[in-house]
Subunit: 149 residues, 2 copies
DNA sequence: CGAGAATTGTTTGTGTACAAGTGAATTTTT
DNA sequence: AAAAATTCACTTGTACACAAACAATTCTCG
């Protein structure tokens, strides 16, 4: 006698795509990016905002690759992100006199002003992303999520 | 009396990048992709695997866009993923006689064999991704994560 | 000091991901 | 049945993300 829609053994071997971490992480991040894109912070993407914020938070100048690592980007990705931020006049690059391989990055006043204005907006984005969870659930979720990084 | 490293008001207005959902989701998914890439399932990416698995799980033929929606991809992304799977001989496309706009997709025996072989591997990938969490934490995390999709 | 190792920034190529627009075909509405 | 709206597949352009390779520079260690 056939079982359910297939018959015999479970052809999917108990694998349910919609319950897999990877699939859910991808969908959750997609949803977050959609929320982010709706809010337009001077047209910045999540990655661009994170990068500019990290630079903003740095006490002094920092090299390109070093900044990229602080935002979890590889060197190739960093190159593109920095170029786009520089083209928008949000940061400046200058040769490091002490290490001729390096470019030192610094946020411009325009960049810093954008970050300051953006803080309340990105707080709202975080709130909107976590909206389906209760306050207690949010704490739990963020604590566990941080363990998976 | 100065507070912390700066003095006076908090210049970051209480915004800590490493505690934001978006930033953590991005990093967690990056980590998952790294684990996935290490395991090589016939060279498939997470998205390609999800797409082929969904097609595998479909009872009959399905159109390209419809399959894409089941995997949370837009039409443009779907086009590229399907092309690559087709080039590898993992699925076939044929014109729908009843709707001349549509291409009907079907997994090939090669595609189905790949999925069957891959199931234990992707189960290991899920396990490795969730490894930092206890069994109870995993259930909680997946339940909350699903709410954010 | 000098050879090998490591780091910095860059480029190229591949693979998602989305926006915006196209033309063909189908469905819905009137 | 004709008009309007929708759907399907596709294309172009932009933006991450990683692998792999490269030259220039700096560091390390014998």
């Amino acid at each position: 006698m056939a079982t359910g829609s297939g018959g015999g053994d479970d052809p999917f071997l108990g694998y349910v795509l919609d319950e897999q971490v990877g699939f859910l992480l991808r969908k959750a991040y997609q949803r977050h990016m959609t929320i982010f894109a709706r809010s337009t912070i001077g047209g910045l993407t999540p990655t661009q905002f994170s990068t500019l914020f990290r630079l903003f938070a740095e006490p002094g100048p920092i090299s390109q690759n070093a900044l990229g690592r602080l935002v979890a980007m590889d060197a190739a990705t960093t190159k593109g992100v920095i170029s786009r931020l520089e083209n928008q006049g949000l940061l400046t690059t200058q040769k490091d006199p002490n290490d001729k391989r390096r470019y030192l990055l610094q946020s411009t006043e325009k960049g810093r002003a954008l970050i300051r204005d953006a803080i309340p907006v990105v707080k709202g984005i975080t709130e909107a992303t976590l909206e389906p969870l209760t306050k207690a659930e949010r704490e739990t979720f963020l604590r566990l999520l941080a363990k998976l990084c």
